[in-house]
């Protein structure tokens, strides 16, 4: 059974925000856009708040579909969290980053409106994939 994260581990998770290698970066962007505190994020993922620093220090799942699914499944199993919710968070933040890279600098934003549009696009993509699979 895991103990509560030490203060230094929490601090490490905070410093990991600066590197896109870590999930900390993705989760922080998502939290900032949606104005979520840790408790709400944990509730959304259906995991323990104490597990968030450990989750944040994990490698961000790779983009390629097969590895992505495998990574998400592993993290979901490890932290007893909702796999589809974690996948949705990562995809939303990824989509947002992609859009930002293609926008002129002065239009770049991390507003909820833009993320909502990104989320809509994700939903469309998912629906299309499901239709194709049918």
């Amino acid at each position: 059974m895991k103990t509560n994260p030490t203060p230094s581990l929490v601090r490490a998770a905070q410093r990991a925000i600066n590197s896109p290698f870590f999930l900390a970066n993705t989760l922080q962007v998502y939290q900032r856009i949606h104005h979520l505190d840790n408790e709400t994020l944990a509730a959304l993922l259906e995991c323990q708040v104490d597990d968030l620093p450990r989750l944040a220090l994990c490698r961000r799942p790779v983009t390629e579909q097969q590895e992505f699914t495998r990574d998400i499944a592993l993290l979901a199993h490890r932290f007893h969290l909702q796999a589809d919710q974690l996948a949705a968070i990562i995809r939303q933040v990824d989509t947002l980053h992609t859009w930002q890279q293609h926008m002129p600098f002065h239009q770049q934003t991390t507003s909820p409106g833009l993320l909502a549009a990104a989320r809509d696009r994700d939903d469309i993509d998912n629906e299309t994939t499901e239709e194709n699979n049918d």
């Binding site: 601090r11 870590f22 994990c58 490698r59 961000r60």
Partner: protein, 206 residues
């Protein structure tokens, strides 16, 4: 408590295998033991904030490039221990340089409205009482010394300071071996004495 090399190796192999939760486990396994060990090596209270950050940054970096470690050269613990010690020394040097700049460009010391109670004036007042030179010649000397560090060194000299350790921080050389520090301090003082000599001033360094 320091983990065994076997424990470290197990998580390290998972890092190499790119398991997504391996970085988290690796950091958790080594973070506090390394902080404790580095804290013992640098026990000064003023480093209490710096030590964890140095270890955290070293581990965050390592888990992103685990393949850079060469097992034939050192155990993983020793590799990380050497790494954090080096980073700590660099961080301390950086801090010293920053503090040095803060001292040098301290507006309180250099930009007082009346312009009388700064380092240059203090040195000049001391020189004036020890020389018989004309005011305008002393002014020329004052203009010639443009480096604020030189003024700080001069101030120590006219106040009779003789310890190398007092001059070393001003010259940002306190991390060098003592013999080198002594030589560099002597060279700086000799250079300033020579300049003063050109103006006919001989310092009474007590």
């Amino acid at each position: 408590m320091r983990p065994s090399e076997t424990q470290i190796q197990i998580v390290y192999q998972r890092l190499l295998a790119q398991e997504p939760d391996a970085p988290s486990d690796f950091i958790e396994l080594l973070l506090d033991p390394l902080i404790e060990t580095l804290g013992n090596r640098f026990p000064n209270e003023s480093y209490a904030e710096l030590v964890p950050d140095v270890v955290i940054d070293a581990l965050l970096k390592f888990v992103q490039t685990p393949h850079l470690y060469q097992p034939t050269k050192a155990t993983l613990w020793n590799y990380l221990w050497i790494d954090v010690q080096g980073d700590m020394k660099n961080a301390l040097k950086k801090n010293t340089r920053r503090q040095q700049k803060e001292v040098i460009f301290d507006p309180v010391a250099h930009d007082l409205p009346d312009g009388n109670i700064n380092i240059e004036e203090e040195v000049m007042q001391k020189i004036e009482v020890t020389s018989l030179l004309e005011q305008n010649i002393l002014k020329q000397f004052q203009q010639e010394i443009s480096d604020p560090r030189d003024w700080q060194v001069l101030l120590l000299m006219v106040n009779g300071e003789r310890h190398t350790s007092a001059f070393a921080p001003l010259l940002n050389i306190e991390t060098l071996p003592m013999s080198e520090q002594r030589a560099l301090v002597k060279r700086t003082k000799d250079r300033l004495r020579q300049r003063l000599k050109r103006y006919g001033v001989k310092l009474h360094e007590n």
